[in-house]
């Protein structure tokens, strides 16, 4: 298993991308699978960066990735405010249009694009585990 800890800050997104690229290289993923995995990981991290640590500038994000047969797993942890992403409702595209393009699409997209999406809160940590079944 490979892990990474980063500050909960937009300036860390490139580190997260590099970490993913490093760990996925060996798997020779299809372009579409890689896109889905990268997009999902970044959307979840961006959500944490925006909302998990409203009063803490030193918040962190902890990442772990591993493979099991045809599945690639990503675990994303944070110590921020409790947030269960399974309960976010489907964004209404008409509402997003009215708001000029703003609205919570990221978590919704991740739920749709990944094949598995599990959340638990343990010892004041949000722990989200997502996986993608790789294309044959």
């Amino acid at each position: 298993m490979n892990t990474l800890s980063v500050r909960s800050d937009l300036s860390e997104l490139n580190k997260i991308r590099a970490y993913l690229k490093r760990n996925m290289q060996i798997l020779r993923l299809s372009e579409e699978d890689y896109y889905i995995i990268e997009l999902s990981l970044l959307e979840i991290c961006i959500n944490i960066i925006r909302y998990a640590y409203p009063d803490d500038e030193n918040g962190e994000i902890f990442l772990k990735t591993w493979q099991d047969n045809d599945r690639v797993y990503l675990e994303i942890r944070d110590n921020g405010v409790p947030f269960d992403p399974r309960h976010t409702k489907k964004p209404d595209i008409d509402e997003i249009m009215k708001a000029g393009g703003k609205g919570g699409l990221g978590v919704f997209l991740t739920r749709k694009l990944m094949d598995g999406f599990k959340y638990k809160r343990i010892k004041k940590q949000n722990i989200l585990t997502i996986y993608k079944i790789l294309s044959p």
Partner: protein
């Protein structure tokens, strides 16, 4: 992301290359280009996605915002040549049902006329 603009009759064609994603220093580049074309009086805009490699939810937001501003000005915005992986995002966000998407540039241009 790089955007180059071509013209075909009264249609402004924006060729998008690279990535539309959130970063530490977000640049609303698509929206700016669309606004610039509208300021020039263009009301028919075609976005060519053939070389678009990545779009995230922030990029989708830019796309929606661009579409709304063109529509509110009485214009039309269409998309052509969407790679399969990007099409997935348009499908799951239902945006593909709102903004008309064409397989190729010629069909999109024909639809404008």
């Amino acid at each position: 992301m790089e955007i180059t603009v071509r013209e075909k009759d009264d249609v402004a064609i924006l060729d998008l290359k690279g990535e539309i994603r959130l970063s530490e220093h977000p640049e609303p580049i698509l929206r700016d280009h669309v606004k610039r074309e509208m300021d020039k009086g263009k009301r028919k805009l075609l976005l060519n996605f053939a070389d678009l490699e990545f779009i995230d939810s922030s990029g989708i937001g830019e796309l929606v915002s661009s579409y709304v501003s063109v529509k509110n000005a009485g214009g039309k915005l269409r998309i052509a040549r969407v790679p399969d992986k990007i099409m997935l995002i348009l499908k799951y966000t239902s945006l593909g049902n709102i903004i008309e998407v064409f397989d190729d540039e010629a069909s999109a241009l024909e639809d404008f006329s």
